[in-house]
Amino acid sequence: MPIRKFELTFDPDIVSEPITYRIVKDYDIMINILRAEIDDQGGRLMIAFEGSGPQILKAVKYLEENGVQVQELKEFIRKDDTLCTNCGMCVSICPVQAYQVDNKTWKVIFLNEKCIACGMCLDACPPGAIKLRAQI
């Protein structure tokens, strides 16, 4: 089953809707909440959907019809390989092991599909090779 990651933005007036429950129950999608924040601006949810292609599309449509802004997270972090020194500082910082050392070449590899957009690596990279995609 394909996994796709989304950032959902809610207005304050729909924060109380049980949206994730509906996605699981009505659209049969396996969800994984990566990050969730609520403040006076509303709510923000980083979420991974695992389900068939049509199910995910229907779920996204349901969200949009209910006033949730949906943006697919294709690439949150980018590692600039011209700046990366391949030290490996990021490797033990990443909670989902999206950074790995190839122990043949000793290069540090970033696996975008594993990234959950937590941002913990952003202030950990000494040569400043890791940046938010939005800042590039």
Binding site: T85, N86, C87, G88, M89, C90, V91, S92, I93, V101, N103, T105, W106, K107, V108, D123, A124, P126, P127, G128
Partner: protein, 388 residues
């Protein structure tokens, strides 16, 4: 068997020398034994690339018209020390910008100079009869400087402690970002490739030894600061910080591939420096030294939540364990990160090997040896009488 520096250099000049990296030679020793490997190999190359905070560069700007004796100097707003004659300055790697913005510092200035970028020079002076000018604001670059040489008081540390954090909050240190409750552990040595771990008692490395420095050629100038010989040894190599080198080399000829500004969040700038040292295989004892492996080199794990110079080692772990990705600590698996780049260390050892095979890099016998015994002293509060 015995070999001399002169014999090896003759072979290098003729293109006949057998040169291997400290990683490659491990396999040869395992296969053929020490005696055979000694006969086979003339030189072993080492390498390391890591954050070396005690680094900097001497610069001579040339004389302005009318001349100035600079008392305060800023390079891209980073203060440089200029209490040296009129137009000499020393830019230190960890010096941050004066505006409180610590993500740009002396290390960045050095990297910018090597990259050939323009750097803004500002200086003030009190004015003298021989140096009447009181201020200057101009641009310099590596091409406009008379001399520009790196002089790093402490580089290429022989081993170093592993950092972890027992506290409840994330710590930002020169050993990188340390997650709470033993969330990770960071280490910083090239281990089996590291120069001073392959010649642990510095039989062949001393004052005047020619080295690979930052992409160019440099020399060992002196014992490094905080050089000490008192660390306990395991398998013939010290566990924990021990000897170090002061090195010198021209910025011209260096490359940003091997000299890189690093920014440690909430700690400030540091300089990533690449160093490689060739080790002549003078006899079987030298071969035994260079065949040291990551599983034979140990480092203590230190808790950086203890804000003291007397951190008690939690345990000792080998570089083989550290490089495996995690170590056992406080009853759990703790993930590890290297701060020094093994990738670049290998690249340096291989570059040095290539240069020697092509006859471009010759060995030098040390002019003088570094101390065989040296203890490291702390800084304590003393009265005038106590230190007299």
């Amino acid at each position: 068997m015995r070999r001399t520096y002169e014999e090896i250099n003759e072979k290098i000049k003729k293109g006949d020398a057998v040169v291997m990296t400290a990683e490659e030679v491990i396999g040869v020793v395992e296969r053929d034994g020490i005696d055979e490997a000694t006969k086979e190999v003339d030189v072993v190359t080492t390498g390391t690339f890591g954050a070396m905070c005690s680094s900097g560069a001497f610069l001579n700007f040339g004389h302005s018209e009318p001349p100035i004796k600079m008392t305060k100097v800023w390079l891209n707003d980073v203060p440089a020390y200029s209490g040296l004659a009129a137009v000499d300055a020393y830019i230190g790697a960890t010096e941050p910008r004066e505006d409180g913005n610590i993500d740009y510092g002396g290390a960045n200035v050095i990297e910018d100079l090597i990259a050939g970028k323009p750097v803004r020079l500002r200086a003030t002076a009190f004015g003298t009869d021989c140096y009447p000018r009181r201020e200057i604001d101009t641009f310099i670059s590596l091409a406009t400087l008379n001399q520009a040489y790196m002089y790093n008081p402490r580089n290429s540390y022989q081993n170093y402690g592993v950092a972890t954090n027992s506290s409840e909050r994330t710590l930002f240190t020169y050993m990188g970002k340390l997650l709470p409750k033993y969330g990770n552990a960071t280490y910083s040595s090239a281990g089996q490739l590291s120069p001073l771990l392959n010649d642990p008692h510095l039989r062949t490395i001393g004052i005047g030894t020619r080295i690979f420095l930052g992409g160019g050629q440099g020399y060992v100038a002196w014992e490094g600061t905080q050089y000490r010989t008192t660390a306990t040894e395991r398998n013939g190599v010290p566990t924990g910080a021990s000897r170090s080198l002061a090195v010198v080399g021209d910025l011209r000829g260096m490359s940003t591939e091997f000299v890189r500004a690093l920014d440690f969040q909430k700690y400030g700038p540091s300089l990533g420096v690449g160093i490689g040292v060739p080790i002549p295989i003078l006899d079987e004892d030298m071969m035994k030294c260079v065949s040291v492996r990551d599983d034979q080199i140990f480092a203590p794990i230190l808790d950086y939540a203890v804000q003291s110079r007397n951190r008690k080692p939690m345990k000792e772990v080998s570089y083989a364990e550290l490089r495996s990705g995690s170590v056992e600590l406080a009853g759990k698996r703790v993930r590890t990160s290297s701060l020094s780049s093994y990738f670049k260390a290998k690249q340096i050892a291989e570059t040095l090997k290539r240069q020697m095979l092509k006859g471009e890099f010759l060995l030098t016998r040390p002019v003088a040896m570094l101390p065989a015994e040296r203890a490291q002293m702390p800084l304590d509060l003393h009265s005038r009488e106590e230190v007299a």
